[in-house]
Symmetry: C2
Subunit: 202 residues, 2 copies
Amino acid sequence: MKLYDATFSGNGYKVRLALAHLAADYELVEVDILAGGSRTPRFLEKNPNGRIPVLELDDGSTLAESNAILFYLCEGTELVPDERFARAQVLQWMFFEQYSHEPYIATSRFLRQHREQTQEVADDLARRRAPGLAALEVMERHLSGRTYFVGERLTIADLALYAYTHVAPEGGFDLDGYPNVLRWLERVADRPVHVTMDQVPS
Amino acid sequence: MKLYDATFSGNGYKVRLALAHLAADYELVEVDILAGGSRTPRFLEKNPNGRIPVLELDDGSTLAESNAILFYLCEGTELVPDERFARAQVLQWMFFEQYSHEPYIATSRFLRQHREQTQEVADDLARRRAPGLAALEVMERHLSGRTYFVGERLTIADLALYAYTHVAPEGGFDLDGYPNVLRWLERVADRPVHVTMDQVPS
């Protein structure tokens, strides 16, 4: 298996984190997305939407979208519930992550770290602030009295949400006001198989 | 089963379309989202993220996120492939829909139909134009030589993408330049069980 990825990407990190939980061997192929590496004709054959991460199987078939990759890799393991409704709840939180969380919290981090800080970027960051805070508030309330997002056990919903939440302060989203979120982040990171964002296979 | 929905919503329509394919009975509960009906304390108990659609089962448990609801309802039917990789490809296109398509194509339609056309809204629409066109281009290329998005058969990936694509012109996205997309839209709508967006259960 090959993972086409940019190591600063939380979407890529989700997959690396899942692969660590599965103790799976894979080859990491770093793509220079800031220099257009995910928009070359060769890359677009792997993912017509021009984004990392992309998982390439040994037969050459490719799969895009971080959360679809998580589902593919982890279905049949304890990271994806067997029970149909619980499995759908896991997907609910993964769609929440991509629609209501990532475009605000992850994109703010990207804009602050990888773009010149012009007035246009400042306006863009300002527009992303309220929805980002709302996403954290939804997580904080849901985690009240719960240890994990679904079924009181670690699932790919937690891995998907962990990836950009644990670096939310890099996007300007301080987590001090979210004690349930902070405890949940510690719980996820406390697993012996956990890897950090910068721990990549050599 | 109850479906909390706003009938002009494509996200709700996805679920109504899937329920029609399944010939399932359900009660439609119209939520006045423009008047804050999805942000009341009572609704937030059903979906802490304050959005429709929400599916409520007879035991009172609730599921949010249109694409998670589609997966829940249709798993085990011919609308979701049994094969693991194909199932993940279906999810890939559903995450594409929520991340790269809906925020541009659906939101543009919403802004044009339900907001006063101020300069701020015009600027917002302008920002959403290029990514919306890019999403249509990705679909057009993928559908070249294909009848449906995954595995040459109708799946929930098609239903999810159909919902807002077929009304893309209402958001200012003319489809004349996308012949493969137009043929695929006809193919989806041509099923005898198909319902239109305004066909709702009485």
